[in-house]
Assembly symmetry: C2
Homo-oligomer: 281 residues x 2
């Protein structure tokens, strides 16, 4: 269950006139709270601010966002040492019609929910993926952002109910590998790392960014580029990243299986050293 | 101002947990109420039902939808003889995550707002369009439906604030003409009528359907097919359709101008005979 706060005050409802309800006119962030503090906070705020600028949305200043999260954490029933905080920023209430009026104030919702704990085996042995039939449309104007328009992810996630499948990978309408419904994906082929470019569709995850920056600092090359689906099957190792679970090795996807190797464990170690310690203790 | 009703009861709020807020996981209809009754009601219900089936959403039965609209009309302050009713159907409340749980009941919101009256000159002399820079992504899985994921329309509508421009036309990412932000478009070239196929993106308007059926009954051919932007400029006459205003001649778009001719007036007459009498008396 998620406890919701509106503009920092407990309150679980949104006006029906809100443009989040009407058009999905907004953005969100799902933030891991660890030891009482938002993890990768700067990246979450940057993505929200960049997205707001691209959509023409007003966004509260960074201290106000932080205050909203902390007010929610302090007030929520959920243990706030380790949990999930969700920020929803919408264009606010408005009259009927797609046109935004200049005088609307943005709506800032903050939700706090319990963090899901994955079994140690997921980190050790890897998780099962599936390849979704739902494709992501090519829309550079929205690519990278975590907008409130998420029907493609909902449709992709509705393709399976088998709990042994942890995540579904989605291709774009041209057949390139883009990301999972709630994660980004990395391929390891020999010594080479790659992750799909998120320029035409998909979400640029904060954990993806963190992994890329750690790799860069460690002088391990990771190409950010278009990835064909054949490369996915040909890869030696595949892993997925997400703000909550960090990184997880992928064990199989359909008939394809991968072996978790040394390179993945090195990335995992880098992540652990950086303070993202989600794996087995 | 829109007055909102939740499941038929007055109440202007939606749970923050609602999947309309979280993901835009739902559909809507904007219905013209004329002489106290919903116009083109069957088409609105069919589109909602078809969309719900495609998205895997539960949808109330037709009499329940009608009852929700009438309860809202009877209770609303707005004059309910001539107004706008909006139905929002969402996947309902759910826990965090894209996955829909089987036990969620759909949320049905009904809004009532005053109908906008367009000046007689809009019907007589035509309206000014603009060509939007925002393109519609090719997503056959969502094409035709009026989903709550409307960021493309919001971005397209945010391109202009000049009130002399009535509507913006949007192309798809391949450059084909698709529709307006809130309307469909028809081209008249010589004796030939055409309207863009809505198979890869765009919304299939109920007024577009009504016009197509009237033309078919009158044995006037109208091709439903891909339309290149060059054809738009080469057309003799262009008009737009929408559930509220019926049809409106387009006078110009950027440097291109069209002349409202006899064929348009014939379509307008067919529409008036069918009971859609929005134009000058």
């Amino acid at each position: 269950m998620t406890e919701w706060f509106l503009d920092g005050r407990p309150g679980a409802t949104v006006s029906a006139d809100d443009r989040a309800v009407q058009y999905g006119d907004g953005l969100f962030e799902t933030i891991a709270i660890r030891d009482g503090a938002p993890r990768l906070w700067d990246y979450h705020v940057e993505r929200l601010q960049t997205g707001a600028a691209r959509l023409g949305l007003q966004v509260p200043a960074k201290p106000a966002l932080r205050a909203a999260v902390h007010t929610a954490l302090d007030t929520a029933q959920a243990g706030h040492n380790r949990c999930v905080a969700k920020i929803i920023l919408s264009a606010g209430r408005g009259p009927r019609g797609y046109r935004r009026t200049g005088d609307a104030s943005p709506t800032l919702l903050t939700g706090v929910a319990e963090a899901r704990r994955l079994p140690e085996s997921s980190y050790r042995d890897g998780v099962t993926l599936r390849l979704c039939n739902t494709r992501l449309a090519l829309q550079p104007q929205l690519a990278g952002m975590k907008t409130l328009n998420r029907l493609e992810q909902v449709l992709a996630r509705s393709e399976w109910s088998d709990d042994s499948v942890f995540e579904g990978l989605t291709l774009d309408t041209d057949g390139r590998v883009i990301c999972g419904t709630m994660s980004n994906v990395f391929l390891i082929t020999g010594q080479a790392l790659a992750t799909p470019a998120i320029t035409r569709c998909g979400v640029s995850g904060v954990m993806r960014r963190h992994v890329l920056e750690l790799l860069d600092r460690a002088k391990i090359e990771c190409q950010v580029r278009d990835v064909e689906v054949g490369e996915l099957w040909a890869a030696d190792d595949v892993f997925i990243s997400n703000s909550q679970f960090g990184i997880l090795p992928a064990r199989r996807c359909g008939n394809h299986a991968w072996q978790t190797g040394e390179t993945f464990r090195r990335v995992e170690a880098l992540l652990r050293e950086s303070g993202v310690a989600e794996g087995p203790a």
